[in-house]
């Protein structure tokens, strides 16, 4: 009881202290230094209509490369910690017919929608991370509906590796063509799609990178699900 009271008091003090800090940050006022620059230049500099994806992939693409790496580490870490020589799914109850048939029917629709999200990252809200997560949901659905379902992990692992290398390679191509790592060579050197801003074939390398990220995130999250659902078999 005493512990709990002390904890509550401590949290209240910290909360008050944080609120003091927050109260002095001007809210709703024009404090957009860099933000304004992004909004004013996003269309002609990157070709993206969606300012968020332009910032995330183009202006601050370095951070996104880092975030992709963080996800990669998470899946690798889970893989390393749950590693056993032989592992198998040990689910016991089979799903009902409605569930299995429904999942089978839904699977392609979810996949299609996931791809739609990451391909249209430069035009509509979303992008590689939500798109990839949607695709992983499709695989999760299959895992939940069928007791024996398994993704082909070898292929998934290799795809994941190639997708990651693809991202870095696009960046290195930028270094070779434009002189800077992660430079948008499609838009700024080749000027591809500069005349149709707002259509599918525009946005420089943003759709390409988002496709790579979508594939990577999709395979990675599916891999984590696969790793966590399987148990060791004793021989």
């Amino acid at each position: 009881m005493l512990k709990r009271i002390l904890a509550i008091i401590a949290i209240l003090i910290i909360g008050y202290w944080l609120a003091q800090g927050l109260a002095n940050v001007p809210f709703g006022q024009d404090k957009m230094l860099v933000g304004k620059y992004y909004l004013e230049h996003v269309k002609d500099q990157t070709g993206a209509v969606n300012a968020v994806t332009a910032v995330v992939v183009n202006y601050r693409g370095f951070d996104t490369l880092g975030e992709v790496t963080v996800l990669f580490i998470a899946s690798t870490g889970v893989g390393a910690l749950l590693w056993r020589k032989k592992r198998k799914r040990t689910a016991k109850t089979e799903g009902s017919v409605v569930l299995t048939t429904g999942s089978k029917l839904l699977f392609p629709f979810i996949m299609l929608f996931g791809m739609y999200i990451f391909i249209h990252g430069h035009l509509t809200p979303g992008g590689g991370f939500p798109g990839g997560a949607t695709i992983a949901t499709a695989f999760l659905l299959m895992y939940m509906a069928f007791t024996i379902y398994e993704i082909p992990h070898k292929e998934f692992e290799v795809t994941e590796g190639f997708a990651g290398m693809g991202y870095v390679l696009v960046g290195l191509l930028g270094l070779a063509i434009g002189g800077y790592f992660l430079f948008d060579w499609i838009w700024q050197t080749w000027h591809l799609g500069t005349s149709n801003i707002g259509r599918l074939f525009s946005g420089g390398f943003i759709p390409i990178i988002y496709t790579i990220i979508g594939i990577k995130v999709g395979t990675e999250l599916s891999g984590i699900i696969d790793n966590m659902l399987k148990e060791e078999v004793k021989e």
Binding site: W17, L18, Q20, G21, L22, A23, N24, V25, P26, F27, K31, M32, L33, V34, K36, Y37, Y38, N58, Y59, R60, G61, F62, D63, L65, G66, E67, T69, V70, F72, I73, T76, G77, G79, A80, L81, W83, K85, K154, E157, V158, E160, G161, F162, A163, G164, M165, V168, L169, G171, L172, G174, L175, G178, G179, Y180, F181, L182, F183, D184, Q188
Partner: protein, 493 residues
């Protein structure tokens, strides 16, 4: 040409992503591949180091070709060039050590995590943007969580769990601090942040800085937040322990110092500095006193490592040029000495089965070269003249006294006496107790001896290294030059 320095980040990344493909070709290639990549990384780092120190100008890498503050830039100045090189060399040595030290499956995942740990620390030291710093900190921290638990024993899982919880809370604090600073200034670029430092509201500056200090203190192993460290050091695979102590902590403490000194114009700065001073002094005292009663040598050296980091933090918290120089000097020396000690202890642990204090009895007869190297490392850590740590400890204590802090200096000196007690007890056990058969020593003993020679060489003539270190310290302390070196685009209000 200088943009090629982006390879420091790109190379470890693309090589880590290649490992799953390589695994399908042949599993036996993975360890040699690790050695090859770290060797290439060392080559690039050496080129960058040479470039920065011969021209005297920092290398600025603009990701995406956007000038800061619109884009993210890497700032490889004197400090970053030096530490990126140290990170690469230590990683290379540990890649060799991994041949012997890591036999637990799955080796491909180990290789990926190993490369990404190196990448994370490199990025943390090279970046010039605070949010990017957070991303690289996450990369470092999450690889560290996974590698701590890699041995899959119950002990390792517990250590990793502690680390993950503390690290998670720490990085959320850091992120709130970053958000506050962004809200107050509208920029994330370090150079521009430093320009605005004076105009930040004092309450916001204080809260933001304190949150950042607390967030980074978890990675930097400062007193109330370092409970994870001894467990993690003990439970992690031996090469990973070396990497933790040689550069992961250093990256954390560097980030702390960099952000603090960038905002030195902010009001309320000196009170945050005083907070760090208290935390640092307590770190030294508690770590050294805990090391005194350890029965496991790896754990004992882990506590000693925390104590040394406390000394570095103390030097950085003084707020003077002399203090920062001394702190950087100690960082370099400590990286060499602790790499030597953990490598030696890990090697003994593998050869003789465990790192219990009893296993070290008669080591002088069983593995003379390793024993000699460990002894040199132990004597150096205590700070005996003619070894490298003596000079940096002396500088730190002199700087503390010059800054007018008598008590921290006395307490730190007292801690050094405690340190001498447990290190000489270890040396006594190694040379004057027990007997045993001669065990075979291989390549690792060679590396150990080379490191020991470096320790003694710096101890005899510290001037060349001191010259390098003062430049690196200046890079950290002199914010005006830092701002001048980063060409900011005019996106003013």
């Amino acid at each position: 040409m200088s943009q090629v320095a982006a390879l420091l980040i790109a190379l470890p990344l693309i090589s880590a992503f290649f490992v799953p493909v390589l695994k399908q070709i042949s599993k036996n290639l993975i360890k040699p591949y690790l050695v090859l990549i770290t060797l290439v990384q060392t080559g690039i780092a050496a080129w960058v180091f040479n470039e920065v120190y011969s021209t005297g100008k920092p290398i600025l890498v603009y990701a995406g070709g956007w000038k800061p503050p619109v884009g993210i830039n890497l700032y490889i100045g004197h400090f970053a060039a030096l530490f990126v090189l140290i990170i690469a060399i230590v990683s290379f040595l540990m890649a060799i050590f991994s041949f012997k030290a890591v036999n637990i499956e799955p080796i491909d995942k180990y290789a990926m995590l190993f490369l990404l740990l190196m990448l994370g620390a490199t990025g943390m030291i090279a970046t010039g943007d605070i949010f990017n710093l957070f991303v690289f900190m996450e990369i470092t921290a999450i690889t560290a969580y996974a590698l701590t638990a890699y041995n899959k024993t119950g002990e390792a899982a517990e250590a990793s769990m502690k680390y993950i919880v503390l690290g998670g809370i720490g990085s959320s604090f850091f992120l709130i601090g970053v958000a506050l600073l962004y809200g107050a200034t509208g920029t994330l670029n370090m150079a521009q942040l430093a320009e605005f430092a004076k105009s930040i509201n004092p309450v916001v500056a204080q809260v933001g800085l304190a949150l950042i200090v607390f967030g980074l203190a978890v990675e930097a192993e400062l007193f109330p937040l370092n409970a994870w460290a001894p467990d993690a050091y003990q439970a992690a695979p031996h090469p990973v322990t070396v990497m933790f102590s040689a550069f992961v902590v250093k990256a954390g403490i560097y980030a702390l110092a960099r952000l603090l000194y960038l905002l030195q114009k902010a009001s309320g700065w000196s009170s945050v500095l005083r907070l760090l001073l208290i935390m640092a002094t307590l770190t030294v005292i508690f770590a050294e006193l805990s090391a005194l009663r350890q029965k496991d040598v790896k754990r004992m050296i882990a506590y000693s490592s925390i104590g040394q980091i406390g000394l570095v933090a103390l030097a950085f918290s003084l707020g003077t040029q002399a203090g920062v120089d001394a702190g950087v000097f100690h960082m370099v020396n400590h990286a060499i000495v602790k790499a030597l000690l953990f490598l030696g202890v890990g090697y003994v642990g593998i050869t003789l089965g465990g790192t219990k204090l009893e296993n070290f009895e008669g080591l002088g007869r069983r593995m003379p070269l390793t024993a000699l190297a460990i002894t040199i490392g132990a004597i150096a850590t205590v700070g005996v003249p003619l070894f490298n740590v003596f000079w940096s400890k002396l500088r730190i204590i002199l700087a503390t006294l010059n800054a007018g802090f008598l008590w921290p200096a006395i307490l730190v000196l007292f801690a050094s006496v405690v340190e001498a007690v447990y290190y000489f007890r270890l040396v006594h056990r190694i040379w004057f107790m027990g007997t045993g058969e001669r065990a075979k020593e291989g390549v690792i003993a060679g590396i150990l001896i080379v490191l020991a020679i470096i320790v003694v060489a710096i101890g005899i003539d510290p001037t060349p290294l001191w010259n390098i270190v003062t430049k690196a310290g200046n890079d950290l302390f002199n914010v005006a030059t830092y701002i001048k070196n980063v060409p900011l685009m005019g996106v003013g209000p």
